[in-house]
Symmetry: C2
Subunit: 678 residues, 2 copies
């Protein structure tokens, strides 16, 4: 071994199963005394919401703290009312002084008409909440007083003792348990503490977590970018999660990939933290120093966990505190934080295991191959299609942060398994409330930029207290994939632009072939222009599809099953050319924008796609033909309430204008029911 490789292979990752890794980690932390719940701090009630009680909370006062009138009316001695009936009302002398004295209100002077002179009155005017005058034990509501004079009232029914009186301690008795230990404080709990005479409450100190971003290539959020720059946003996401879990995160400035610099940053952080997280450098490359730092400062317990994404994880204990390295890819960072850091925070807050997510059963829409030996955590989109809950995997790359944005749930594929068959039952941990999932329109099929616009418009509510807005979840698997998803009952609708070479008609023959007896409505979304996407100024001088056969031209293709790929193959056949003649035919992208991005980045000279994608990135465009892009919607969904807002949107002039502004779209037939098939 020489040179660079010598450095790169200093460490070997030895992936161990998640449960074993956790176990090693927790055992060592327990031995170091680092798993105890955090100590108490007394915070004012107004700052305590969301915090966790550090001990039982006992009442220091009763509530009410005196016997209180529970109604507006008169306080009486129940014994004085015995025998009152409609035919023989009982008259009581009434006064008001007792209230004025007891509660000293501003307005009593004007409103109270105490019985003048003549000894103690039998009854006393009271408002709700007033203390019961001494010797009186019941309240009669003002509505039940028969005749009212300046100094007497009459009643027509007897009352029982303690009627309409809130006895002292009805709600809380001093010394009573108000809240148990390790209870997360909700708004009502704060009221109960206040009612129980408290102004502060002992809560667990927030665990302090220091995140140390490392890497020479890191630049701050919002920087001007040059190739190789990595925007340092992992700390932003990790801080967000940690705050959500109840910790107090702080982030150091980025540290370069230098062993001593990382070590010194870790030492400083250990002093002031309950947990130190070094982000990136946890693998075994030449610039991966985390494991070395942990080994130098303490005990390296785990280097590598058999999970996907996220396997290059470093777990250690240093100075009796957890010192952890998590991977740099954002999805890996988020997942390992959730699997390995969240349990610590929960434990420290006395909340171990309390935040398990709800689980739903679903059918997975696609075959998923997963390597044995690793637990895979698959992100999925969810939706209820008819009676069926369906889960569609999103992109699996550890660097695809949008997979976390798009995911509604997570499926764990155990390490003993080779994956999932299409249609198989899975348990899905919910990342969003079920109600949101139930309110989601599932679109699987061809990609078009108007679907993004549609998604955003559907989240915009008319002013008024509307039904919840609809979520549109669209997965881009190409037109054919969409029709297959519809047949399987996995989607509410599919975008499709499949040209029948023989008839020149769009979609109809494909629907008959692939959907068999599922009755569908075929609704036009847009007409759009397909053409060649090239760099500004068309530097390679591309004029027609035949130029794609030139040896100096590199092409970027769309995936099999996409309408655009069908179109390309059709056009090549017309030219009498074979796919192998195109340089780059085998390079597949999954959306028009991805094709445009490849051209824009220079790794391809040309791609076939729609005008709006070219225009979005400021590229040039050579139009080839107009095509029809439709929504294929099974009738049962077409007529459902769920899809109503989406279908209504197609008639919305604001939406049509926004689509036209994208360029290359014809919205003349938008929303028109082409035909019902099947």
């Amino acid at each position: 071994m020489t040179g660079r490789q010598g450095h790169q292979r200093r460490y070997y990752l030895s992936d161990i199963p998640l449960e074993e890794a956790r176990d090693r980690f927790h055992t060592a932390l327990r031995q170091a005394g680092a798993l105890e719940p955090r100590t108490a701090e007394n915070v004012p009630l107004a700052q305590a919401r969301g915090r966790v009680t550090a001990g039982p909370v006992w009442a220091v006062a009763s509530s009410p703290h005196y016997d209180a009138a529970a109604m507006d009316g008169i306080a009486v001695r129940a014994a004085d009312t015995t025998g009152a009936t409609e035919t023989a009302p009982v008259s009581l002398t009434v006064g008001g002084t007792a209230i004025g004295t007891a509660i000293g209100t501003v307005s009593d002077a004007e409103t109270s008409n105490a019985a003048a002179g003549g000894g103690e009155p039998q009854a006393v005017w009271v408002n709700t909440g007033d203390p019961m005058p001494a010797g009186l034990d019941a309240v009669i509501m003002i509505e039940n007083l028969h005749q009212v004079g300046d100094d007497h009232v009459s009643i027509m029914a007897p009352v029982a003792p303690w009627q309409h009186v809130r006895p002292l301690g009805e709600d809380i008795v001093a010394t009573e348990l108000v809240l148990p230990e390790n209870h997360r404080l909700a708004a009502a709990d704060l009221g109960a503490c206040a009612a129980a005479g408290l102004s502060r409450v002992p809560v667990r100190r927030r665990p302090r977590v220091t995140i140390i971003p490392t890497g020479n290539e890191l630049v701050p959020v919002g920087s001007e970018l040059k190739p190789g720059d990595i925007i340092e946003f992992n700390s932003l996401m990790l801080s967000g999660l940690l705050e959500e879990w109840g910790a107090a995160p702080s982030v150091t400035p980025p540290v370069p990939d230098v062993f001593t610099a990382i070590r010194d940053a870790a030492i400083a952080a250990l002093d002031s933290s309950d947990l130190v997280v070094i982000n990136a450098g946890s693998s075994a490359g030449s610039e991966d120093y985390t494991a070395l730092v942990v080994e130098e400062l303490g005990q390296l317990l785990v280097h590598g966990v058999a999970i996907r994404p996220g396997h290059p994880v470093v777990l250690g204990v240093a100075r009796d505190k957890p010192l952890v390295g998590i991977p740099g890819y954002p999805v890996s960072a988020m997942l390992t934080a959730e699997l390995l850091l969240k349990p610590l925070i929960e434990q420290w807050l006395g909340q171990a295991g309390s935040s398990r997510r709800p689980v739903v059963h679903a059918n997975i829409t696609r075959k998923v191959v997963s390597p044995t030996g690793e637990d895979e955590f698959l992100r999925v989109k969810l939706g209820r299609v008819g009676e069926k809950m369906v889960a569609t995997p999103v992109q699996r790359g550890a660097g695809v942060i949008m997979s976390l944005v798009r995911a509604d749930g997570m499926v764990r594929i155990p390490r003993f398994s080779e994956g999932l068959d299409a249609g198989s039952d899975v348990d899905v941990e919910l990342l969003r409330p079920l109600s949101e999932v139930e309110n989601t329109v599932v679109a699987i099929g061809s990609h078009d930029l108007t679907l993004d616009l549609m998604s955003s418009f559907l989240r915009r509510l008319p002013a008024g207290l509307s039904p919840p807005s609809v979520n549109l979840s669209s997965s881009h698997v190409g037109s054919l994939g969409g029709l297959i998803a519809l047949r399987r009952g996995e989607a509410h609708l599919a975008g499709s632009h499949l040209l029948d070479e023989d008839t020149g008609e769009y979609n109809v023959s494909y629907i008959r072939r692939y959907l068999g007896d599922v009755p569908v409505a075929l609704v036009n979304l847009v007409g759009r222009v397909q053409g060649l996407i090239v760099r500004p100024g068309n530097p390679m001088g591309i004029a027609a599809l035949s130029d794609l056969l030139r040896r100096d031209i590199s092409f970027v293709n769309r995936q099999r099953g996409s309408g655009t790929r069908v179109l390309l193959d059709y056009k090549l056949k017309e030219l009498g050319a074979s796919p192998q003649e195109l340089r780059g035919y085998e390079r597949e992208e999954y959306s028009h924008l991805a094709v445009a991005a490849a051209v824009n980045g220079g790794s391809a000279d040309v791609g076939l796609g729609i005008l709006s994608a070219a225009r979005a990135l400021g590229l040039d465009f050579i139009p080839l033909l107009n095509e029809q892009y439709d929504l294929v919607i099974p009738l049962v969904h077409y007529e459902s309430d769920l899809l109503r807002p989406l279908l209504d949107l197609l008639a919305n002039p604001e939406f049509r204008k926004a689509v036209n502004d994208l360029g290359g779209y014809d919205t003349t037939n938008m929303g028109r029911l082409q035909e019902k098939i099947g």
Copy 2:
């Protein structure tokens, strides 16, 4: 009508159904233009978590923003690897300069060993994340390199173009939709925005809500209390809720019950708020000015809503803004805020209807009589007992703030209904996560202070990453009520201390009589001392039970079916006395502490109860007898995992010590299985 009553009846509440009230309110607000989502403010990503996007968020950069190596290894031209096999490896010249130039790392100088001279190398060393050198289109992982020299490597398999390369825009393409409008930002969303080149994000301004507490009797949280004082904690709870919903609440100093003062406070608040809430004074009493203020400043839309608790509600529009009065009882205040204010906040944040709570089906354990004409919102405790989800109503008083603390869910009893039969099916809106409910031990039966201690100890976890802690939900319905709940399958256990007059034995004969063929374990919890609770110094000179028959003594009783009531009746019978001879026999309290509180407050001279309750409030105690307090546990639960932590706790020395410290308890037999019955 004269004097005080003239003031009190200025207004009449005309209760209208909830939906109609909301409708009037929202129609008027829509006309005033006050229902539009709030405007946007641009906040840095680090402050945006939990906020709601005020428009669609589009990417301004692609991610990755260049073609990037996805592995540590060498970048190659795929074409150069064609034909490589194990028997005929291909050798490639390799250099490292390209990396050094592109990413300028600190350590490259020492680790890169560029091929010296001799033209462009065929391959270039790359680390994960490095930009792909110009002209190269694939990466070979370092693990797959066969022979590595200073200036060449050899490989034994060809690679496809774009292998282990993350193409520009793989995750996000500039101009793509990152997040739709009205999306609540989670931690991962912030990362996606940063990856898309943004440093700030437009979010909806938090709706400003001003709460005006009114009332002469209000004192601040934590005050020394005198009779008639009301601790002003509604604003604390309401602020908590409003923050939770995403609003920015502020609270004015309390305003006295003076029309002009309240009016002026409302005028000032309307200027600076989206919503003004006057708390209390919303009814129709002499000091209830809210409706008058609304009428003076704008339009009074609703005065009185047919809901329970919470009917005295004032809804109005003033200066094109909602001006609302909500009731003073804390439970009413919280409920009306939820029903009437939350929809406004959600609407303003573009989240209308998005926070519907999950609903579970349950069996109600008790008959509930509810007045027709009002929608009642009943708070219940929940638990899963065997296969059955059971819902036990908690106290219904609008002033009982602990009912909100204890409740796990809410049942709506429609205004057309007269209530619920015991055992009937109800839909329960969950106030806590279902996982917490599933993890709850349901105790229904006699009250003892050790149950409170038990609840708190069960929330305390051993250090270690434990299973979630167990919640103990105990409802106090007396010993007999507990046995009946067990028979109906509505509880996991019942506390019981029922003395058989004939045998002198506790519980056994009652279990045989009431539980029939349900096999149970009878486990001792404590021995305890019952006696007479009197004020300090025993001012009435009470010495024995027979003193309770004195005419100068007032007694406070426990409810029918409680073991203590059974004991009293038994003792009275021994004395040859009839219950009617006791002054206060008909005054029933539901716990030992409530009895002690009545004595402490002076409204009764004496009660029968346990030593710990007397001691808790510093009262004197005249011991009468030792009794046995057991837990009755159906065998099926006795042997379940759910109850294991509770049964283990009975052997915990720390717990026993805490019980002994309460006073009057004998823990010798704690946890001992007395016998199995049935």
